[in-house]
Symmetry: C2
Subunit: 147 residues, 2 copies
Amino acid sequence: MLKKLKEKLHKQIPLTKYMQISPEEIKEDKLITTAPIEPNINDKQTGFAGSLSTLVTISAWSACYLVIEEQLNFKDTMIAVIKSDTSYRAPVTKNLYCETTMPNEEEIKRVKEKLDSKGSASLRIKSQIIEDEKVCVDFEGIYVIKI
Amino acid sequence: MLKKLKEKLHKQIPLTKYMQISPEEIKEDKLITTAPIEPNINDKQTGFAGSLSTLVTISAWSACYLVIEEQLNFKDTMIAVIKSDTSYRAPVTKNLYCETTMPNEEEIKRVKEKLDSKGSASLRIKSQIIEDEKVCVDFEGIYVIKI
């Protein structure tokens, strides 16, 4: 499932391939995504803010996609971020490691009901880039889903 | 000045080169930056949210950099985004065109005083991606500067 998602991202969104973004695993309620530091470096030899922002944005999108298209089995949906808040708390100095909180059962039930009745719904997703147990980037995005 | 900035970005931040981000001109109080759609496309054949986010984030950083390093002549400063809010209002379907509002005289005076007295300051910068006179992306970032 995550291998298929990675192939889809790299094929359809060239920037994710250049950044070498990789959905790695789902651990408890977290989707883990990673990217090496080299293509994502800045002038200070730390993670470029644009790369950090891209990683959290596509990771949270991926969490939505996995719920909507894999778990709920809606196909060819439109999922798009409409708003995001990002806090950059500390520089990232190693390979990028991102944890995204998957929607819980209650949220998934609400979204399914909305999609069945209205054809559209939204999800609020949190994503963090973490290094040595420290949160470097804190992201929250609102994603709309249309079927 | 903008040619030098473009060379710096492309040399030091590989993602900006891949995206072909280009600082084009300063028109009245706006810094104009652009990027072609091709390397920045998504699965819906519109501008990828990660690319849009990266373009506004680095464009607002560039506005800070031009004020601090070119206009005020501080050198080798640390300029970093610490917080950003982004609204994605409409899909981008053509080459990316971004307008960033340069800090005004009063803000520049305040920042210079802060840097001279404390060695650090912050700037709040607005940036928009526009297509056919419609605002597609609205961004505001807070940048800290240290000398």
